[in-house]
């Protein structure tokens, strides 16, 4: 069984849940930008939750199906067509050998996850099939898919059409999307006025929004508390002596446009970070499009942990609802 890429879309790539454990060597965990949507897509087609899917952003691919199989598409809202026939999102459906899967225009969110029963079975690198183009790891030769690529698919697993994720277990960003933030690390380098402005202003997603990070614009520029730059750090007040960046960290080069570091972000560098988006909200970022309005909402540690617990419960409900 194979999937043949007829048209690749914008930047469609093979993703699973990533390759943890190499961050100290500068290799990010990577994996699906919206992990929840990837897990749901896999569960719908009877795969293990961490199987590899295709992640498409803004524009769907066109794919020729190599053999009869079960498919499901989750994440953003993009009309699905199988030989032109509409199919429902967040629901499994059957496809026959030779049929072509294609997509209409994106109507909500930013990324879709295309799962196939058996899972995409390209060669893993460092324990994962996730595509990481900068390091040429995973996917097809370490890059997004191209026309003519033929993706191997694992053995079918008894999945059935018509499995569906209940409405209340589908998650998309509100508008304005709210991203909850734990201030931290170099928060005290900002003046009090700048600290307040960061949360008061409405930001919009900039065009530089990809797997490495999402940049936001439109808020007020930040002011820094005066200090003398240490030797070894860059000359701008937003520079620090090189340190590690945690996933979700918000760095602000030049103090103007915050960047939330996402799955493929580098492990370290010389910019200060003012805090981090809580892990419960990282999936939401993967569903943001350029020009969408976004607010950053200040939370404390107990709220962050509660949000994480709620996400866990939602995942448990998802598993339960799709248990065979």
């Amino acid at each position: 069984m194979t999937l043949e890429i007829v048209k690749p879309g914008l930047a469609t790539s093979v993703q699973d849940l990533g390759r943890p454990g190499y961050f100290h060597l500068g290799i990010p965990e990577g994996g699906a930008m919206d992990r929840y949507a990837l897990r749901a897509a896999n569960l719908l087609v009877g795969n293990p939750e961490d199987a590899a899917c295709l992640e498409a952003v803004f524009m769907g691919p066109e794919i020729r199906i190599g053999a009869d199989c079960i498919l499901a598409v989750t994440g953003g809202e993009m009309p699905i067509k199988l030989d032109g026939e509409p199919q429902a999102t967040w629901e499994s459906f059957a496809a026959k050998a030779g049929q072509v899967l294609s997509f209409g225009f994106l109507t909500g969110g930013a990324r879709i996850y295309i799962a196939v029963s058996g899972g995409v079975a390209t060669e893993p690198d460092l324990g994962s099939r996730s595509t990481y183009p900068i390091g040429a790891l995973g996917g097809v030769e370490g890059r997004p898919v191209q026309p003519g690529d033929v993706l191997p698919i694992g053995a079918p697993n008894g999945a059935k059409p018509g499995w569906s994720v209940p409405e209340e277990l589908r998650r998309g960003p509100g508008s304005p999307a709210e991203l909850r933030v734990l201030p931290g690390l170099y928060w005290d380098r900002l003046t009090e006025a700048s600290q307040a402005a960061f949360f008061d202003d409405t930001w919009t997603v900039a065009s530089e929004a990809d797997r490495m990070g999402y940049r936001f614009k439109g808020g007020r520029a930040m002011e820094f508390v005066d200090r003398e730059q240490p030797f070894g750090a860059g000359s701008d007040p937003s520079n620090i002596v090189d340190g590690c960046y945690s996933y979700g960290s918000i760095q602000v080069p030049g103090g103007t446009e915050p960047i939330v570091l996402h799955r493929d972000a580098v492990s370290g560098g010389g910019y200060f970070t003012l805090g981090a988006v809580i892990s419960a909200d990282m999936d939401l970022i993967g569903q943001l499009q350029p020009n969408m309005p976004v607010r950053f909402v200040k939370v404390d540690m107990s709220e962050a942990l509660l949000a994480r617990t709620e996400r866990r419960q939602m995942l448990a409900q998802l598993r339960q609802s799709l248990a065979a």
Partner: protein, 226 residues
């Protein structure tokens, strides 16, 4: 040595922060701590990422919290370092300092008030150690450049700097593994393979390893690549 500040990073990390002045003893302390971290010494431990003056410790917030991890780290930090030496290796990296492979060598010499040959000698005499990984996969920051070569970074980055470039800035040096932009000074090119292709050890260097440089001619460089 001053005690570090333990700073929370999101709900899943603590930064062991020794401030922003690089110091060999502090770094040795961090590397020693890094080597001692495990799920036994710090329950809920996920991974650690060492940097020049800090160590990021990530943990599972569903099984532990900042206070418990912080307390476990303080216990580890109370044990004096050096009792069990971290196992480190020594590597020799070949560098060609000739012409087009070293586009910034002349400007570095001018800024340091030295001849280009003196810059090369100073670089060859430096004994570096792998301080941290950062910026991009395989970018090992090598610390230990001699003081006469310490320059601030360029004010603007140069694009498409070829992989294998030998870069310096501040007291650090690195051999790039990807063709990327950089604001560091390019003083040579190395044919030494940093990517090993080995899953358990994807890059030549481990944090803590010692690195020295060996000069090769342009002919040797070209031969290494064929």
């Amino acid at each position: 040595m001053k005690a570090p500040i333990l700073r929370p990073v999101a709900e899943h990390g603590l930064l062991v922060d020794y401030g922003d002045r690089f110091d060999r003893a502090i770094w040795a302390r961090l590397i020693d701590l890094d080597a001692r971290l495990s799920s036994e010494t710090v329950p809920g431990f996920v991974e650690a990422v060492p940097a020049a003056t800090s160590l990021l410790v990530r943990f599972d917030p569903m099984t532990t919290d900042h206070a418990k991890v912080g307390a476990a780290l303080l216990v580890l930090l109370a044990v004096p370092p050096g009792e069990e030496q971290r196992h480190t290796r020594a590597h020799v990296v070949d560098v060609c300092y000739d012409g087009t492979l070293a586009p910034d060598l002349v400007e570095v010499a001018t800024r340091c008030g030295m001849s280009t040959e003196d810059v090369v000698s100073a670089h060859l005499n430096s004994e570096c150690h792998v301080q941290m990984y950062g910026f991009a996969p395989g970018y090992a920051y090598l610390a230990g450049l001699p003081a006469p070569l310490h320059l601030p970074r360029k004010t603007a980055a140069k694009r498409d700097v070829p992989k294998g470039s030998v870069l310096i800035a501040g007291q650090q040096c690195l051999v790039s593994t990807l063709t990327m932009p950089t604001g560091w000074w390019i003083i040579g090119r190395s044919p030494t393979a940093i990517l090993t292709g080995d899953e358990t050890r994807p890059f030549l260097f481990d944090v803590g390893d010692r690195v020295t440089f060996r000069r090769i001619s342009r002919d040797d460089y070209d031969r290494c690549l064929t």
